[in-house]
């Protein structure tokens, strides 16, 4: 009798050990294989490289930028004029003239330096708005999904109402009330993007909620917040990561649009949308002032979109197997 119990216990322990080893190997290999799949996609690698360059430029703006982004060059340099086209020595611009890779803007400031500093602001805009939206959205969505019932109904109907507005217009309405300015624009874009994350979080919480390990946790006496934050959320992270990466691109585009409408960053802040807006009427006479900030916005958003697409395929094995994208 005793021997049988002991034998059973030992077998049980061995089985547990095996399961644990398997689980740990699996948990490593899921992320590792996702990374491998991500790096196999040329477009995602391109996106990562572009993002790397951008982050580098943003971090070292003080060193790379030849001028202060807000410095007016009249009286500082000779032979400078308003909206001067680019002067690049390698491309045949006379050596005696100061080099301005992207020309000078309407206030005689170095456009290249302004574009460089703009990277800092745009990345900041993307990360802060999306972080804000992810935190609030995930909180709302996971509470709705986990608790269910009337609270779920109330939260999700509220999200439906927010989704009923075209996002840019709602952001415009919010900023018009808060007053123009970068911080208010960020807040507006953050609020507008909450529903997307709330929906994603709710959906994945609903999927995970019924799984055995959650029930086991509950049976062991885990409290609601413990189960939600330590057990369920870590297991519903992947769709949020994907949505977040793609969301950064959209947030940067929306922030640029608000600035273009005069509701976001105010001059002389070197923000790409504001820079574009300031010189929009000069597109025929000084196209370089419109071209470069727009190109910078496009490349930044493209980097996040490429990475986001890659992550979606890498983190969703179903898609990867079917080769649908």
């Amino acid at each position: 009798m005793n021997i049988t119990t002991e034998k059973k216990e030992v077998t049980g322990q061995i089985a547990d050990l095996k399961a644990e080893r398997l689980r740990s190997r699996e948990s490593v290999s899921i992320w590792r294989s996702a990374l491998r799949r991500l790096l196999r996609r040329k477009s995602a690698v391109l996106g990562l490289i572009m993002l790397g360059v951008l982050v580098f430029v943003a971090l070292t703006a003080d060193i790379i930028a030849p001028y202060d982004p807000e410095q007016v060059l009249i009286g500082v340099e000779e032979n400078v004029r308003m909206r001067q086209p680019p002067c690049i020595h390698l491309l045949g611009c006379p050596r005696d003239q100061p080099q301005h890779l992207m020309g000078l803007d309407g206030n005689v400031r170095d456009q290249f330096s302004r574009v460089i500093y703009g990277a800092r602001l745009s990345l900041l805009v993307g990360f802060t708005t999306v972080s804000f939206a992810i935190v609030i959205g995930t909180l709302l969505g996971s509470i709705a999904g986990y608790i269910g019932g009337r609270l779920d109904n109330f939260i999700m109907r509220l999200m439906d109402v927010l989704l009923a507005f075209p996002s840019l217009l709602l952001a415009i309405a919010i900023v018009s009330i808060l007053g123009p300015g970068l911080i208010n624009a960020l807040l507006a874009i953050g609020i507008v993007s909450i529903p997307a994350y709330a929906r994603v979080a709710r959906a994945s919480v609903l999927t995970v909620r019924g799984m055995e390990f959650v029930e086991a946790s509950r049976a062991l006496g885990g409290g609601t917040s413990y189960i939600l934050f330590s057990r369920i959320l870590p297991n519903s992270l992947t769709p949020l990561i994907v949505q977040g990466t793609l969301g950064i691109g959209t947030a940067i585009l929306d922030a640029a649009a608000l600035s273009f409408l005069g509701l976001g960053a105010q001059p002389p802040t070197p923000e790409w949308g504001t820079m574009l807006s300031a010189e929009r009427n000069q597109v025929f006479t000084a196209p370089h002032l419109v071209f470069y900030p727009g190109l910078a916005i496009m490349l930044t958003v493209l980097a996040f979109n490429l990475i986001g697409d890659g992550l979606r395929d890498a983190l969703d094995p179903r898609l990867a197997q079917s080769g649908a994208d």
């Binding site: 477009s43 109907r157 509220l158 439906d160 109402v161 927010l162 009923a164 507005f165 075209p166 996002s167 840019l168 217009l169 709602l170 415009i172 309405a173 919010i174 018009s176 009330i177 007053g179 691109g249 585009l253 640029a256 649009a257 273009f260 409408l261 005069g262 509701l263 949308g273 574009l276 929009r280 597109v283 025929f284 196209p287 419109v290 071209f291 900030p293 727009g294 916005i297 496009m298 490349l299 958003v301 493209l302 979109n305 490429l306 697409d309 079917s322 649908a324 994208d325």
Partner: protein, 357 residues
């Protein structure tokens, strides 16, 4: 079927009430006294007290909300300080330009996006596929206002003097105008009917066809190309990607293999069997893109000198005419909900499986 439609209509009522509530709440959240915000320096104690009584600001919040909803249901959206006109009148006057632009953009994005998506799916992983998807990725990453400005620069300045030159602003060339069709036809109408006919007459393309003025029609088309391409590019990229992935899904299914196995030519299988099923999600995507079209119109109209709803909104923002911004938000959001309702209902006709759910 009818139950589904009714249920769908009923389910959008809470959303509409929610929209009204959100815009109402936004209006009440303005920091400071609305009287001082609107009247500025003219606001004295006495005037502000009168102002509060006149606008019902002294009443409890639920009563204020009821009054607000009542005003909107009667079509009273307030008056624009900048234009000195009722907002409703502004919308009727300016909406045709925006709707025409959105429709042109939609036609562009669907007629180019769908074929591109099909070719990419059929020639999966080919050069065409890879380059289309790269272009699509670039397309969704472009700020619409930048694309508009660049198109204007390329087609109005760089290509000046070539047959590809296109006008960068306005709806018609200077000096070219046509009276609305009902006046040309000698109809004498007034009241609501006249407003409706004037609204329809505001669509230049329609009006020029109805009055048989092909010179005006061509001119209007020329003016429409650049803004439509600018507004349509992002949805085009999304549509191409969606068509591709849903075609790939369908092409891998058994019935497609069966169709091929029984000897049908590939083109017939792709266009008749696969495409019909692959296009269903597209209806949803077009519905979801309506917001992009409208948002794009707001940003593009100012660039191309078009006096549509977007332009009014832009002017209202710059003149801090915030009441107009809110009224427009209500109108556009309602419009958006109704359009999505129509898309959902049309889906039932297109896909019998939806009815079974």
């Amino acid at each position: 079927m009818i139950t589904y439609i009714l249920r769908r209509i009923l389910s959008s009522i809470p959303v509409l009430i929610g929209i009204l509530f959100v815009t109402f709440a936004l209006a009440r959240l303005i920091p400071g006294d609305p009287c001082r915000a609107i009247l500025g320096e003219k606001a004295t104690e006495k005037i502000c007290a009168d102002f509060a009584v006149r606008h019902g600001l002294d009443k409890p919040i639920p009563v204020q909300f009821a009054v607000y909803v009542g005003e909107i249901l009667r079509g009273d959206l307030g008056t624009s300080l900048r234009y000195g006109k009722p907002v409703t009148e502004l919308i009727v006057e300016r909406l045709p330009t925006t709707v025409e632009l959105s429709l042109a953009a939609m036609v562009f994005s669907v007629t180019v996006g769908v074929p591109l998506g099909i070719i990419s799916a059929v020639r999966h992983n080919s050069v065409v596929d890879v380059s289309t998807m790269l272009m699509a990725n670039i397309g969704v990453s472009m700020p619409v206002f930048w694309l508009g400005l660049m198109l204007a620069y390329i087609f109005a300045l760089l290509l000046k003097g070539t047959p590809l030159q296109l006008p960068p602003s306005g709806r018609l060339s200077p000096g070219m105008s046509i009276p609305p069709f009902f006046e040309v036809w000698g109809w004498e109408v007034d009241g609501a009917l006249r407003s409706i006919l004037a609204f329809l007459g505001g669509f230049n393309l329609l009006n020029s066809i109805l009055t048989w003025r092909w010179d005006v029609f061509l001119d209007a088309v020329k003016h429409m190309i650049l803004p439509a391409v600018a507004v349509g590019t992002i949805p085009l990229a999304i549509i191409a990607r969606m068509t591709r992935s849903s075609m790939l899904d369908v092409l891998g299914q058994d019935y497609v293999r069966t169709a091929r196995a029984k000897g049908l030519p590939r083109s017939k299988v792709v266009l008749k069997h696969a495409l019909r099923n692959a296009l269903l999600p597209l209806v949803t995507i077009i519905g979801l893109s309506l917001g992009t079209f409208l948002g794009g119109a707001v940003l593009t109209e100012t660039i191309f000198g078009l006096s549509g709803v977007g332009r009014v909104l832009y002017d209202a923002i710059t003149a801090r005419d915030y009441g107009v911004v809110q009224s427009f938000t209500v109108v556009i959001a309602t419009f958006f909900v109704v359009l999505n309702l129509i898309v959902d209902i049309s889906y039932v006709y297109l896909d019998p499986r939806v009815r079974l759910d």
